[in-house]
Symmetry: C2
């Protein structure tokens, strides 16, 4: 058996990303994946157990990239609010640069909502954990950082997914600010 190489694996993953972006999961055939990646079908099976495994490999690769980008950006900022903006902007930029992945994740998440081994679940949790850690900063005094992190990520998701296009460059700042200080402007002072 020939050696597996990172280059070939990446070529298969890239081809899969293109196909899954325009076809439903069950419509994508291994033959088409092989043709798009310019490898034999047998080669794909040496790297991936089946179509679902390939799908998950694609997600795992994306997950690694986004978390590395988050780390890089967080290294540059100090204030909690700026950190929240940086981590959300990383997610936002990632999905803008890889538009097909947003749809892909919806699909995979929908396929196995409660499967703890699902490739994206640990990433989603790690992302929420990092946001919660920032929210636990004493200067913010957030009552329940774990729930608040879910709220912030959910708010961001919905605006990104269903908000008016084009999204303004200030959108991430607005979401973070609204989330931290409230949508209602007339909060009683000191409350």
């Amino acid at each position: 058996m020939r050696t597996l190489t990172a280059d070939t694996r990446q070529r298969i993953v890239d081809a899969a990303a293109q196909l899954f972006a325009v076809q439903r999961f069950h419509e994508v055939r291994m033959e088409d994946l092989a043709a798009a990646a310019e490898v034999g079908k047998g080669t794909i099976y040496r790297y991936f157990h089946d179509k679902e495994d390939l799908y998950r490999g694609l997600i795992a690769t994306a997950a690694e990239q986004i978390l590395q980008d988050v780390d890089r950006r967080l290294a540059d900022v100090e204030q909690p609010q700026a950190k929240l903006e940086a981590i959300l902007q990383a997610a936002f930029d990632f999905f803008e640069t890889h538009p097909y992945l947003s749809d892909l994740l919806q699909r995979v998440e929908a396929l196995s909502p409660s499967d703890e081994t699902f490739a994206w679940t640990p990433v989603r949790k790690e992302f929420a954990r990092r946001v919660a850690t920032i929210l636990a900063d004493k200067s913010l005094a957030v009552a329940d950082p774990a729930s608040a992190a879910l709220m912030l990520l959910g708010a961001m998701r919905q605006v990104h997914r269903f908000g008016k296009r084009p999204l303004t460059p200030k959108m991430v700042e607005q979401v973070v600010s609204t989330f931290l200080y409230g949508a209602a402007k007339r909060r009683p002072c000191g409350k």
Copy 2:
């Protein structure tokens, strides 16, 4: 051709809801749907064009129920904050009472994220529109009610979908309060 009846349609929809709850869309066979509904396969095709049409009919029925419940609850309250709690509680209760529908909606939404004719899209928009109308109440002074409505619904979705179980009865109130007045307790006075 025999007359179509609301009873038979509802029996088919109920059977479909049970099957789609435990099987993936492409795994559900019309034969099994017919057996579960105790009708012939031909009967199903007199009510629904195909499996996707049946799926959408199921979603449309759910949509009608949830919007009627929202109307009923909103009739009882006056204050904007209480209205927001009532509308989110209606959604929350609906998905708790019909747990399979939450997963179903994820799946259908993932299948056709940009299809404007998709049965749930107008419901999601109508729901967001109603929340935005409440947020536009002058007493709250929300800057951008449409975006704020998306944020609130996204926050609620994420907490409902990924929050710690069991969800506390106060959860809806907490989400609304955090959203309106901010997650950070130490907002500068007058900001």
